[in-house]
Structures are given as structure tokens and as C-alpha cells.
Symmetry: C2
Subunit: 427 residues, 2 copies
Amino acid sequence: MKIEKLTDTISLLRSVEQPDPDYLMTVREVIADVRQNGDEALLRYTEKWDGAKLESLKVSKEEVDEAYAKFDKQLIGDLEEAAANIRAFHTEQARSQIDFPLAKNSYIQYKISPLDAAGLYVPGGTAAYPSSVLMNAIPAIVAGVERVVIVSPPNMEGNLPDSVLVAARIAGITEIYKVGGAQAIAALAYGTETIKAVDKITGPGNSFVALAKREVFGRVAIDMIAGPSEIAIIADDTAYADELAADLLAQAEHDRFASSILITTSISLAEQVSKEVEKQLKLLPREDIARSSIENFGCIYIAESMEQAVAAVNELAPEHLEIITEKPEELSQKIKHAGAIFIGRFSSEPVGDYFAGTNHVLPTNSTARFSSGLCVDDFVKKTSVVFYSKEMWEEQYPKIARLARLEQLEGHARSVESRSWKKEDSE
Amino acid sequence: MKIEKLTDTISLLRSVEQPDPDYLMTVREVIADVRQNGDEALLRYTEKWDGAKLESLKVSKEEVDEAYAKFDKQLIGDLEEAAANIRAFHTEQARSQIDFPLAKNSYIQYKISPLDAAGLYVPGGTAAYPSSVLMNAIPAIVAGVERVVIVSPPNMEGNLPDSVLVAARIAGITEIYKVGGAQAIAALAYGTETIKAVDKITGPGNSFVALAKREVFGRVAIDMIAGPSEIAIIADDTAYADELAADLLAQAEHDRFASSILITTSISLAEQVSKEVEKQLKLLPREDIARSSIENFGCIYIAESMEQAVAAVNELAPEHLEIITEKPEELSQKIKHAGAIFIGRFSSEPVGDYFAGTNHVLPTNSTARFSSGLCVDDFVKKTSVVFYSKEMWEEQYPKIARLARLEQLEGHARSVESRSWKKEDSE
């Protein structure tokens, strides 16, 4: 793994790419097709792209029960404990209505209410990610969303992975459809005969899915467009090279575009970690992917000081940040921009990916500067309420009318003044 | 104003339009030009499109002071009182960090921190909207955003309206630039020599501005893409026709695409309102705009029952909803989707536009189903923090490793297991 001197501009800083125009055309065609042809289009695309000729889009209760019955009991216990941890922390995020009394028996209010329906995209492909099911579903359920739906592309036999069905059952989701790609996003946004439209779509996916989400944004809400996963680690010479190497590789194994960065003040640590990465790489099942990621998007930076390291991290705004130094908590106070921060050597990043209770859907591509991981807030909306009494209105309407006229909105002024035209009052 | 029987599908339901491809091309060219040529491009576009040859993009302190000194003192008082009301209510929205203790001296946390910088677009054109300055700036300032910037297109003399400068000063903003259109959005997203990039862009604008915001979304955060303004009113025969007509016209005067809908159970009220609208239209300075809006996007619906009226409103998810009935608070409990709700005849919509303290930047085009008005949350981000003690790690890591292996992420499993390779421990 390469070692560089940290300079003021981090060379690996990445940002969001513009979509490929060819992909975009395909995605638009798929969306239009699903809007027009509904279920027929979904079944056709599923046969064409997933190789599965389905009888029914919907996963039956029997399929879920069967998957659960044959699933490893210890793993069910692990998933249930993870779900309980996630539920507990997300329940703390739930907010209550703000009641704000004004003078003269008037008030304003801020009502917090759940969305009616949310759709969760679960990617298919080689591996299944039950942890993503929990991380996306639980915030919606804690928020009080009544209808939470999963869509996921089936394998060629027309099935979804057992682990996804088991995680869905643990999360409490019963409405699951065998459909993926841009066609699944179109179905969630516009509805078909079988799949009713939702209000918000979350969850990661390939380029087609990401583009489709961008296309339907506005019609429905979407979560962020996720980029490749990233980790930055700040470490000093109290850290162990083998542990840091393992953490860098845990990120790198995700995909070829994943980025793993270590920033340290210790040259000897940097050298040890570089060697350890090579040693551990050879033993990793996904060596190929991880090696490509480390070579193209990995770097060990030597910082002159911890201040310089912190400044670099704040510029990078990484998705994940580990701080493995003598006083990690102190240092963490200086971090302004990161999706999630892991403090000390016993809190390696997979602790948050799977188990601690925080969400693992986090902002990538430096968007931690201005955005947050998935949370209960993402599944509620806020409605303001205004009540002015007659007495309050009498006192305030001349000011409101003057402000309206300042903006040349005479109709607005007349609206508040119109109440004064009455002789009698209903109150 | 036309009267129709309310049926199950409201004919005026609107949704987000796809952008015009010609506009999009222009916007992309402008953005690329500003990225490449910086200030020079901004000055060139301002001369070309706003007809102003500027010496400096930045508004000087003298310009602001001069505008303030000559401004009507009563109006300054009104704006200051409005600002104080907005500040008070938005301060209630601010949240504090969540500290969540776990077993064995471990914890997880949710840190809430302000964005570093926010840019507020203030439209130019015939009228100036100081209220929009307050509504966009105050939530950012209450959130703790250190740098809040205004951009707005100058008139041909190279000036911004006094009322905008006065509102900016009242809100506490000192960094103001004379630049509008897609070029202003590009400058805020990418930065130029004079204008440093921000993290989030809010505020309404014309089609070019809306398209440019959509284009830079991801590079920076944006608020919603605002559509034309809308009001729905639910009224029974306790309401006064002249007041309802005035409220419908207050919305209609905004622009030709604004939508004003009254839903009532009273046929006689419907007929009176229709006549009143015509009568008041003739006396309105913006008669032309309001008439076009009422004719194309206005309607009075006769509902069979209040239940039917409520169901229609929930389908419509209007930006603004007035409830002027015998028991408006009771009815408001049944409303699931609306940007803001105004209760009773003394709380007409301009009360919220200007003065009560709630925000007037609200979701349009039925997006109140899943989104909220501008608020303090829009200017903060949340960072999760995980700390596992050695003892906690020892207890939990086997579960985490098993879950990682279930997802075929061996590197993740080894990351948490790597800690066990140590003989000695630093703690």
C-alpha cells in the first residue's frame, strides 16, 4: 500500500459523478414502460435481466416461513440482537410535536407525522445483505410508517436469498416483491396493479437503480445516492499495524471503487501497516477486489501533526472515520465532517456495520459535509399549524398587511384585512 | 370561479414536471463556464442577462447601511418583529445531541452539528421579497451555520432592492453578492475567486435556477425544487364568502400557475364565493395574473361530507390548508398531508407568510406527502459515534464476525477478530 506525505490537498478527494447518458436513456425507457404497462413490464424485465420467469411478483408468507425455519438458529439470534440494538438507538431519535404558545390564546405548532409508505431496495447479485434490510427498515418502522415494502431482484430460480427474507421477518416486514433494477424503482414511484406506490424509496443499488432513483426524485422522496464506501483512519504509534491493516481491508473488500485511507504521524507505523496490508491481502477471499481498491483508492498519509491529520479528515468528510490514538475521544471533538466516528481500537468499523445500533447507511463522496446517515427523521414529515385568535389578529393584522404591500402583494394584505369588514363575529 | 361536484379523483392534482431539455443544455453550459472562468463568467452573464455592468460582485457595507437609513422606520419595525417571531419558533426546533449508554462502559452517540456554509438565492424581477430572506436565513442562523450568503440578481443599475438588503441586515447576513440565475447557483456550488463555495443552497428561483439546483445536487445539498404556490380551503356554512374569496385570490395573485381550491359542503357558500371572487378580482392590482390562475387552476368543490373533503385534501397534500369550519381544530386532527395548516377565520394564510413564526418555504406539488417546510433540521447534520470498551468488544465480536461472514465479507469479520490477536492490551 502506497505511502505519501500529507499535503494540503488530499489527492484522493472524490466527488459525485455525472450520470452516463446511455444508462440514463435506458432508465427513462424502463420507467416509461412500467408506468404504461405495469406488472406486465415488471415480469418482462425480470425475465430478461434476472432470467427468472415468475408466477407472482409477491413473496408468499410460506416462502418467508420456510426460509426462517431452515435458517441457522444462532444467526437468527445474532440478527435479532442486532435488530434490537438498532431499534433501541433509533427509538431515541424519534421526536415529539412542538407546541408553541403565543399571546392572546394563540399558538403555533409543529406536528411530526410518519410517511404513509416507504419502499426499500435490497440489491441482489452475488452476496445478500440482511444487515441492509435491518438498517433501512427499522428507522421507517420506528418512525411509524404503516406500510414498509421491500423490492429485490430474484435469482434465476425466482427466489430471494433466505437471509433477506429472515431479516425482513425480524424487522417486521411482510410485503416483499421479487423485482429489481430501474423497473423496481419505477414500480415504487408510480405503482402497478400489484405494487402500490410509496412516498419514499431508500436503499443502495447499482448504477441503474441509482439513476432511476434520481429520475423519480420529486415524485417521491429518495435517500441519498450512495457512492462507493470509504474509510479514513487516524492513528498514532499506540495503534497496532495488523489491526489497522485489517480495518483498511474490511473497507477495500466492498468493491473496486471503495477507498481506504490511513493518516498517521508515525512513519514506522505507516511502513508496518503497508507490509501488513500486503500480507493480509494474500489471505483474503476477495483479494482481487480488495487489491484493486487499495491500489487505486488506498493511501497511507504521513501527517506532520495531529492537527494536520484532523484538517485533512475535515476536508475529506469520510463516510467512516476510525480514531485509534492515545486520546481518541479528545481528537474526535475536533472532527467536523464524517458520517460515523469509531473511537478506539475496540470499535472497529464493522461494529457499526452490523451491531452497535447506529445506522450503516451513511453519506459518501464527501457529502458528510452536509448530509447525515439514514435515521428516523428520514421517514417523518413536519407540518406547521397556525392559530390566531380574534384578539391576536386585531393586534397584528396591520403589520402583516404592511409587509404584504411592501412585496406588492395587495391580495395578501386584503386577505388579512378582509376579516375587519365584519360587523358581527362568530367568536 | 367554477364550481364542481367533488369526486374521488381531484382533477387539479398536479405533479412535478420533467425539465425542458433546451433549458437544461443552457444551464449545463453556464455551470461549466462558471467552473472554468469563475468571476469573469459571473460578470459576463450579469451584463448579458441582467443588463448590469458591475464593478464588484459583493454588496458593500455602505450600500446596506444606506438602504437601511432611508428605509421606512415602521416597516423596519414590522420586519424586526417578524424576524423575532421566526427566530423564536425556529429556536424551539433546535435539537441536542443524543447520548446513548451501552453496557460495559460503552456508548453510542448522535452528534448534531451545523453546516459550515449556506447560500440563499433571492429572486430578482419585478417585486422584492424580504420575507423570503428572513424565512431562509433565520433557520440557518438558528442552526448555527457560521457563513450564510445571499445571492440575488441586480437591476440594470447594478443594485439590489433596499428591502432585501434591510431584511438581510435584520437577519444578520453581511455577505451578499449581486449575481442571479444558473450562474449564481454554479458559483455557490463550485466557488469562484470572490464567492467561496457553500454546502447547501436554498431559496426559490425561476426555471433556470431550479434546473441549476437540480444539476449541482450531490455536490452540495439543496432544498426542495419549489413548484407554483397552492392553497386548499375547507369551509362550512359558518365561513364568510368575502373572506374565503380574499384568501383564494391571495394565492392566485402569486402567479398564473398558482392553484386555489375551496372545498365546502355548502352549495350556497360555494355560489357566494364564486361571485365574490369575481367582484374582488376586478379590484385587484394583479387582476390579470390572478384571473388566469383562478380560471386554470382554481376550483370550488362541493363535498357530500366533511369526511369526503378531508380525504380529498389528504390526496391533494396542499402546500397551504385553511380550515374555516365550526370546529376547525377537530377537523385538523384528520389531516395527514399538508405543508402548513391555518386554523379558523382569523388565521388566514398571509399570517404564516409573514409573521406568525412558522416558515413559509413549504412543499408544493403534493410533496407534502413526504416532505416538510424549511426548518432548522435542514441546516444541521448528524454524525454517529461508536465507542466499544475492551469488555464490550470481547462479548460481542463473535456475533459481529458471524454476521459479516453471513454476508461473505470475510475482511469485516477479520477486522473485529484482529483485536483478539493481541497478547498485551493498551487499556
